[in-house]
Assembly symmetry: C2
Homo-oligomer: 153 residues x 2
C-alpha cells in the first residue's frame, strides 16, 4: 500500500480500487507501475477552470475513449460483484464525441447513459467521480432487484 | 414500382422494403437512385462458393460495417413498428471483425447477437436473409410480450 491510501479513505473504496485495476489493464507498457493511485486516476479529474480551457468542439482521442470505457467497465464490474450476475458494458462513441454507454445484466438494461462532448470528459474531483459511480451502481442494483427474472435470462 | 417487385413477392415484404430504405439512407451520393431492389441488396448475398473465396482472417471495411448496421437498424425499425415502442439498435465491432449487436426496447434487451468474422458477412440468398430477420423479429416481439412493463420503462 502506498502513502496516498493511508492519507485518504476514498482511495481504498471498492470503486477506486476497481478503477485502478481497470486502468492497469489498459496500461500495456506498465507505465503506471509503482505510481500512487491518485496519479493513475489524475486524468479523470478536470476542474471547472480546466474544462473552460477545453474548446467547446473537439474530437476525443483514443486514450480518452479508453478512459471512458475503463469507467463504465468498473461500474459493470461492481454491479456484477454486488448482484452475482454477469454485467456486460457496451460503449459506442462516434468520432465527434457523442455516444451511448449501456450495461446489461441478462436481458435487462441496468444502465443507459447518453454521452456528449466526451472530449471534455472528467470529474471535478475523485470524490465527485465516486458519487457518480455510486449513483449509477445503486440505480442498476435497484433495477436488478425489481426484475430479477429478466436479469437472470 | 420496378419490374423486380412484380417478379418476386419477397421483394415487396416489409423487411425487404425496410432494408432498401436503410440502404438508401446511407447512400449519400444517390448512387442507388433508380436501381432495382435486387441490385441495391446484392452485396448482402454471399454464396457458399463466394464465402469460400474470402480469406479466413480479414478486416471488415467501413462499407461492410455500414451494411451490417443497416441490417440491424431494419430489425429495430420493424420491432418498433410491430410493438409501438421505440427500439434502439447498438452495434459494436472491433477492427478485427468481432462484436456485438443489441436492440433495446425500454430497459429490455430484445436482441443480443455476438458477431464474428464479419468480413465474411452475408446470406446465401435474400430469402435466407429474410428468414434470419423474421427469426430475430419474432424472438424480440416474444420478449416484449413477456415483459411489457420492462419494455415500457
Amino acid at each position: 500500500m502506498n502513502q496516498a491510501v493511508a492519507q485518504d479513505p476514498l482511495l481504498s473504496t471498492d470503486f477506486i480500487q476497481e478503477m485502478v485495476k481497470q486502468m492497469r489493464a489498459i496500461d500495456s507498457y506498465g507505465t503506471y507501475d509503482g505510481w500512487p493511485v491518485e496519479r493513475i486516476l489524475a486524468p479523470y479529474v478536470v476542474t471547472k477552470e480546466q474544462r473552460r480551457a477545453i474548446p467547446v468542439i473537439g474530437d476525443p482521442d483514443e486514450i480518452l475513449l479508453s478512459r471512458i470505457k475503463a469507467f463504465y467497465n468498473a461500474i459493470a464490474s461492481l454491479v456484477e460483484k454486488e448482484c452475482g450476475l454477469m454485467a456486460v458494458p457496451m460503449i459506442n462513441i462516434t468520432h465527434e464525441g457523442f455516444g451511448r454507454a449501456v450495461i446489461t445484466v441478462g436481458k435487462l438494461v441496468v444502465m443507459d447513459k447518453t454521452l456528449r462532448d466526451v472530449h471534455r470528459y472528467g470529474y471535478e474531483s475523485l470524490s465527485k467521480m465516486k458519487d457518480e459511480a455510486d449513483k449509477l451502481l445503486s440505480v442498476a442494483l435497484e433495477i436488478v432487484g425489481k426484475y430479477p427474472e429478466v436479469a437472470g435470462m
